[in-house]
């Protein structure tokens, strides 16, 4: 007998990514790399005022320009496209892809040029003259709620996009509110912490801006659309619906996608317009976003104001939490806009046993770019509000921030734990995460270092934050798209494995992690496995990559499909080997009889037999291809603890992050190398929120941070080396025990950095500093001005 090489198990290993060779050699195809014969280029003329009525649009000069194919105004696009749909159950103002009569934010499209190249298209857009009647700009959400200075959508009085959603103790399914428990908690309080907190507006800033190529083939009556999207199947659904086509007549392709961070979930005006113009003109069209355009045209994230009240006993026991949230959602509801802040409500219970919680949410329209998902999407905001309040409680009681948290944790034996806000936490061991982080960071030693530095007059501080997030979204009851994911596994005739996944990645490395799983499942070399994604003509069904769901939901779907094929393949192998299928093992590229290794067939031999089954084993159909939809019974709830140390320059107010320790429990890990990368990226965005990033609007609704000159994206010099430590509590929600890790880094990092800054400046009587930690703000605290 020939010896077969032993294949190592790959799940849990730091396998190098299979995506990388094309990416490091400039051989990948992003949407701007797609070129079709006869392709025309789009450029959008956008509003340069925040709010106004369009009196007149003069596109005659643009239309007369050499190379210009057409110019469409809002009214002309409205003949091709109905209002853009949203994906949440809330009522929404009619939102035209191109504004028809009123512009409602800087960047609102008013016309679109079709021209032979992007330079000509841009020249022509510059030649379009739009005459506006300016209207007052609504910028401050708390004034907007009073209808001041004006109302943006007449059918939404006082600019209330979502009037009031109550949640927590004493709120029944119909939304009826009984305040007795929360009132009792606050009446019994020995100490109450109250603070207004800002979780500021951010720009997602995927380094690849958005883009779309649409090609309607008149002869076939079908559409192909390439878009930089996180979810091609959802794109297909909406593009088909708005263009009057069936889903079978639209092929959506997410080519290589250069980052998303939630901002490429939404289906945008430019996607709809490109598809409609291609259909109208019968030519392929391309639109590629400029960066400055991205700052106004791609959805923003966060922007939630929280009024937090925390009731406690003097020993640190929390009795009750009130959280009043006001979300500034910008000018319109996009796909998930209205749903994102509801995740802040859901997660208001944090990692603590809180006897009474009252959380309420109001969503408000303003004349700004709409918000939607941005990495973390509602959970970092919840974490921030609660963790800052816990810190303030610790400060008030002169307790260590770790001790006040420890006193209130939900205990390991209490899982599954139903929170006051209705989440069912699947699993957790919060004290273990805290202890791991404290030990890894050397908390007591750091405190001594901090005190020694302070003795020298340096402003050094320590911060700590726990978090729990909701991931692996989710049951279909929680997602209007359906909360499942689809996978298909095919053993090809030559014994190689083709798999498709609806979890369309944009940097997450699914081609590697999913191949690791399947290679192990079938005992074949990873080189024999190909993962296909991102093309609805190849991938039958899918939901997409967001909410830290690809591994927990998409990975499980593939695992299930693999299991089905394996069962069938075992029956073919059993027939060939004249053995019982229960006695077969799949390993080292062979299917062998357990305990009789000489009795074996190669994987390829069994595959070939399955496609030419002579004789066909009874009860089997030929072929080896199976699919699975995995619908999780619940979300997953990963958790962790982040610790930071910061120094603030006394003379300039500039903060320097000295240390960041992160303990993240994402359950079982398929590829720890990729997981580390995900955590690093999340940490960078969370720290960016704390230290440098903020979308700022002027009182007139002008965007003041409209390019990378003004919006600070963190650079390599802004970070120390992150120190990561593991903690593994597998989830019972899926057979992989994996929870999701894409967003985790953003949750604990922001509050722990702010906590460290507050600690550093505690000598100046500071209890809280609003995001972000602008040096000017810190300098004023140090030098006696207003914070």
């Amino acid at each position: 007998m020939t010896t077969t090489p032993i294949l190592p198990k790959l799940v849990g290993q730091r396998v190098k990514r299979r995506e990388d060779p094309r990416l490091i050699q400039g051989r990948a195809t992003y949407v701007d790399d797609v070129t079709l014969p006869g392709m025309q280029h789009l450029f959008f003329k956008r509003s340069d005022i925040a709010h106004g009525r369009i009196r007149r649009i003069d596109a005659s000069a643009a239309q007369a320009m050499e190379g210009v194919e057409a110019v469409f105004t809002g009214a002309e696009i409205a003949e091709l496209l109905g209002p853009m749909p949203i994906g949440t159950p809330y009522s929404s103002p009619a939102h035209r892809a191109v504004a028809v009569d009123v512009v409602r934010y800087v960047g609102d499209p008013v016309a679109v040029v079709v021209a032979r190249d992007r330079y000509v298209a841009r020249d022509a857009a510059d030649a379009i003259v739009v005459d506006y009647e300016p209207l007052p700009a609504v910028v401050d959400p708390e004034l907007a709620m009073k209808g001041q200075p004006t109302v943006i959508h007449p059918e939404f009085p006082n600019n209330l996009a979502v009037a009031l959603v109550p949640s927590g103790t004493g709120v029944d399914a119909a939304g009826k509110v009984d305040d007795s428990a929360i009132d009792k908690a606050f009446a019994a309080a020995e100490v109450v912490i109250s603070q207004r907190m800002v979780n500021q507006r951010l720009a997602p800033c995927a380094i690849e801006p958005r883009g779309v190529v649409a090609h309607y083939e008149l002869g076939k009556g079908s559409m192909t659309i390439w878009s930089s999207t996180q979810n091609p199947h959802i794109l297909r659904t909406f593009i088909a619906a708005l263009n009057g086509l069936g889903q079978d007549q639209v092929r959506a392709i997410a080519p290589e996608v250069g980052g998303g961070f939630g901002s490429k979930i939404n289906i945008y005006a430019e996607d709809y317009v490109a598809s409609a113009i291609s259909k109208r003109l019968g030519v392929p069209v391309k639109w590629i976003e400029d960066r400055s355009e991205a700052f106004v045209a791609t959805t923003h994230g966060r922007d939630i104001l929280g009024y937090v009240d925390l009731a406690a006993k003097r020993d640190g026991t929390v009795l009750g939490l009130k959280l009043r949230l006001i979300a500034d959602v910008g000018a319109y509801n996009m796909l998930l806009t209205a749903a994102i802040p509801t995740l802040t409500l859901l997660m208001a219970n944090a990692t603590y046993r809180i006897p009474a919680v009252r959380a309420t949410l109001t969503e408000v329209f303003t004349n700004k770019t709409p918000t939607d998902a941005y990495r973390g999407a509602g959970r970092p905001e919840a974490t921030y509000f609660v963790e800052r309040a816990m810190d303030m409680l610790a400060q008030e009681l002169k307790m260590d921030p770790a001790d006040v948290r420890r006193r209130n944790f939900i205990q390991p034996h209490e899982f599954p734990f139903t929170t006051q806000t209705g989440a069912v936490y699947d699993s957790g061991d919060y004290e273990k995460a805290l202890n791991t982080a404290l030990e890894a960071a050397g908390w007591d030693r750091l405190k001594a270092e901090r005190d020694a530095a302070r003795a020298q007059g340096r402003l050094v501080g320590l911060g700590l934050s726990m978090y729990v997030e909701v991931c692996g979204l989710g049951p279909s009851s929680s997602l209007p798209t359906g909360g499942w994911e689809h996978g298909q596994v095919t053993i090809e005739r030559d014994g190689r494995i083709s798999a498709t996944t609806g979890a369309s990645p944009h940097g997450q490395g699914n081609e590697t992690t999913f191949a690791q799983m399947l290679a192990d499942q079938f005992g074949v070399p990873i080189e024999h496995v190909t993962i296909h994604h991102g093309d609805t003509a190849v991938v039958k069904q899918g939901v997409g990559t967001f909410g830290s769901r690809s591994q927990a939901v998409g990975g499980t779907a593939l695992h299930m499909a693999g299991g089905k094929v394996k069962t069938k393949m075992a029956r073919f192998a059993a027939a060939l080997l004249e053995a019982h299928e229960a006695d077969l093992v799949f390993e080292n590229g062979r299917i062998a009889v357990k305990g009789a290794p000489a009795s074996a067939k190669s994987f390829a031999e069994v595959a070939a037999f399955a496609y030419v089954p002579v004789p066909l084993p009874e009860g089997l159909e030929p072929g080896l291809s199976e699919e699975a939809f995995f619908e999780p019974a619940n979300n997953t709830y990963p958790f962790g603890c982040h610790i930071s140390m910061i120094e603030i320059d006394r003379d300039t107010g500039e903060p320097t992050l000295l240390k960041l320790v992160a303990v993240d429990d994402a359950g079982n890990l398929i590829n720890p190398l990729i997981v580390e990368g995900q955590i690093h990226g999340g940490l960078a965005q969370g720290i960016g929120q704390a230290l440098v990033e903020e979308v700022v609007y002027g009182e007139d609704g002008q965007l003041l941070t409209g390019s990378f000159m003004d919006y600070a994206l963190p650079r390599a010099t802004d970070f120390p080396r992150f120190e990561l430590h593991g903690c593994v509590t597998p989830t019972p929600v899926n057979p992989l025990g994996a929870k999701g890790v894409g967003e985790a880094g953003t949750l604990g990092s922001t509050p722990c950095v702010v906590a460290a800054a507050v600690d550093a400046l505690s000598g100046f009587g500071v209890r809280h500093i609003d995001l972000m930690l602008r040096p000017e703000k810190l300098w004023r605290i140090i030098h006696g001005g207003q914070a």
Partner: protein, 153 residues
């Protein structure tokens, strides 16, 4: 139209270009070298970084006509005889990329960094790539990748 003659990845290219055509668009659209990316419009992000006469430069900050007579290396020209450049190898080994969009520019910036400073400290690496944005990695694995290429890991 203006005539330019630019050696790109070892091959001389002659073309008529609009005087206002950005070098990055010349590379991407006329030569179809789409490995060089565009991530911003203010020369902040560095996704378009290439080597011009051996030095890294942001190809969105100059016109094609300004590169007339120069020698340019793009990411497509970095590997030699089928062998990955040590930086390409480093980025692969150390998971120095996720979505990959900033990667070509990041690698080209690092080429100059390592030419100038063959054995950089971590701080020198961070400063050397401070002209290039990455939104995915938090930069740590990129630092590791450059250290790998410098023979330190």
């Amino acid at each position: 139209m203006a005539q330019v003659s630019i050696a790109v990845n070892g091959k001389v290219r002659r073309a008529d270009v609009e005087p206002r055509l950005l070098l990055v668009h010349f590379l991407r659209e006329q030569l179809r070298l789409t490995g060089t990316h565009v991530g911003c419009d203010t020369s902040q992000c560095g996704a378009c970084t290439v080597l011009i006469d051996g030095r890294s430069a942001k190809s969105c900050t100059l016109f094609a006509v300004q590169a007339d007579g120069s020698e340019i290396t793009t990411i497509e020209g970095l590997a030699r005889d089928g062998e990955l450049h040590p930086l390409q190898q480093g980025f692969w080994e150390e998971h120095g990329l996720q979505c990959g969009y900033c990667t070509p520019g990041m690698i080209m910036a690092a080429v100059t960094l390592l030419n100038d400073t063959p054995k950089p400290t971590e701080q020198q690496i961070r400063e050397g790539i401070a002209g290039n944005f990455c939104r995915c990695t938090g930069y740590q694995h990129i630092v590791n990748a450059i250290q790998h290429a410098a023979g330190k890991r």
